[in-house]
Assembly symmetry: D2
Homo-oligomer: 233 residues x 4
């Protein structure tokens, strides 16, 4: 099971973002700006910044998460976000004593396939342990470990990259495990910054249409919209 915990973040993140935004156009000093900002003013600023695409001030608030129980399938995708900082558990130096791994529901739903899957992953892990006991370095023995094996990492993302990453990873066409991960990330952000957390949503909400080949149903695709327009004349 995926586990996400917000271990640290810029205090009062929404006020920090809003105060920075005001610096650009206000003659008074930054501390004074921050003091004067009411929750309503912060809310209005957020709406303005997001609809006008002025996202750079969202970089002034950062969030650090402990992430546990994701597969190497998902960690490999996750670290593709380059506007983020990652510290991942090493498989070079650390041997994995337990066979902790992820089972996709499409497999666990199939009674004829599920036991084969479990057996295979555990057999791989057993050979991994045997090889380590026989003197093979952990960094080489791990080649036999399936992508299903879980890993643990610490990730820091600023609010701008969180908006971007969630726009991609909360899309229901994204890979299911990474969707689950970002739903947990969104929940953690919402618990300390509800206004910001509410903005973490799939790209279609911002685009007004689905830009995938096939829509999940929330929004029609651009093609479907064009076809509908033509049909109506």
């Amino acid at each position: 099971m995926i586990y996400v915990s917000l271990i640290s973040y810029t205090p009062d993140p929404e006020r920090t973002i809003a105060a920075a935004a005001r610096v650009s156009t206000s003659p008074v000093d930054t501390k004074e700006i921050s003091k004067q900002l009411t929750p309503e003013a912060i809310d209005r600023l957020f709406t303005h910044l997001l609809t006008s695409g002025h996202l750079s001030t969202f970089e002034h608030a950062s969030f650090t998460f402990a992430i546990e129980g994701i597969s190497r399938v998902t960690s490999h995708q996750l670290v593709r976000h380059r506007m983020a900082s990652f510290t991942q558990q090493s498989q070079r130096y650390l041997s994995l004593k337990e066979a902790d791994y992820i089972t996709p529901t499409s497999i666990s739903a199939r009674t004829e396939l599920e036991p084969k899957y479990h057996d295979m992953v555990r057999d791989c892990h057993r050979l991994y342990i045997d090889m380590i006991n026989a003197g093979i370095p952990a960094e080489d023995a791990r080649y036999v470990l399936p992508s299903a094996m879980v890993t643990r990492l610490v990730m820091t993302m600023n609010a701008r990259e969180l908006l971007h990453a969630c726009s991609l990873r909360l899309c229901l066409r994204a890979q299911w495990e990474i969707v689950e991960l970002f739903e947990l990330i969104k929940a953690e952000v919402e618990s300390v910054a509800p206004r910001l957390g509410a903005e973490l949503k799939p790209k279609c909400y911002r685009l007004g249409y689905c830009d995938e080949a096939e829509s999940c149903g929330i929004f029609p695709t651009a093609k479907e919209i064009a076809d509908e327009k033509e049909r109506k004349g």
Copy 2:
């Protein structure tokens, strides 16, 4: 006068960095790791990470500064750091009512030049105001403003980039105004994270020699070391 104020930062930044570093090699969970870290363990980890060049975990702690009273000379250099986030006061939308500007001490030390400098900067500012009053947009009138005019910005940098930026900008061969700026930045970091703040120092302390064309005297240049070696035989 330059004014730097730390308006926000990752709480307990040194513990956050050290805990992230432990995740890489420890089997226990991140919250547990963080709890177990004594100040001595954090200190030892910092020494190890810095001497072995494992700097990526320093990215998990961020610092947000309000910076006021730097010239456009310096802000233009400052924003060249790409691993940082900046929100700068706009000269497009905001007209500068006062002639706030920086005077280099090399000029203020020269009694025959100083009054000419002050007059010129103020004349420029007066023409700027006149042009705005005559209907020229602020974004065009500003072309006549000298580089000495001050600006204000909010800057967020993580600890890794602070180490890097300070290694360049605290070098006494750097431009004097940016040296002053980073001395104030270092002081702000030291006030909340003394262990980290102490590591913010010019590159020569890490290299063990000066890599500039001419040394300020703290460390000899690589060439001077080689020559000395040869002389000694």
Copy 3:
């Protein structure tokens, strides 16, 4: 006058981008993919990548420009693009013998202001030269130079960042000098990569509406669209 010259670029940039895109979904090898790509296939792939927002493959083609004759107003904005590489002429080490500067047309159109502007900029430059002759270092004398003074730089951007930067900087609400600069950049790209060059356009073409406070007229703002809809019932 601004001068932009493409001094180097990834050869056959559109083929390089398209070939990289195919690697993601094709089992054959990269060289084979590249050979098989017809111009029509490249064109279709471009359309697909751009409408589906799969922009990462555009990073595989880079363009290096020599840029001369832009003001320090504009170079200060330009270097805010962090996904780019800049090497700028130094005002620390190089003294500017000529008073080369930009005059905004809003000023040159006003016969009563124009001569005052020219006199002021030249007076500043004269004091700059006088101070250098009197022994003030160039790095300090430059504080008196107006933002209008021109600079020269080399800039490398990949095609993804060019798409992004042009979406912002070709907007007619952007500052006029940076619009001119990016029109020249677009022309240089078009001369060697017409399919890509044609995609370098302001953000409204991609959004389908204007997200600025006031539209230049090409597209209505989101608010105007909503109002029109309501009016129609």
Copy 4:
């Protein structure tokens, strides 16, 4: 077997880097600078830039590689370089018909372990194919694939990041497969840019000592140097 092929790069990369460097301190224009640069001048500039740590001009030359036959162990590490662009073969949309995989030599050297390793990897691949034939999506079936399975990607890195990545990845303490990969990358760069290629070397050559816990023997560690000094008195 790992296969690396340079599919595209900035033409005349060393001249491009050197010309950009000259812009910073020369009053003549960029094309003129480039023409005037002799091979000897380029060589001297390279030495100067590298010893003084002025590496930013190396960003103006980019290299695009087709990389095939690396394991997912190595691709996961490789994409941690954030100053680079990657397009990787998708395991979501593409099913892997062949069991192509990497065998560490520490395992192939052990006659009692090697056949077990081969059997296990192939059994995993067979179950993967069986699950796909039974209707499991490729994106889920791949959870059972070992990290040894090979992948293919296109990578673009500029010369500055190549210097940095090679300083880490050519270190003999790095993981053996990524060392092999970067030796091939270095060879490709050397074939078109020998002066630059020669500078792609492990960090110890630049540091003058080994900063790992234990040295491979090329350079002593910092501790060994200090101990030796003390012993000598």
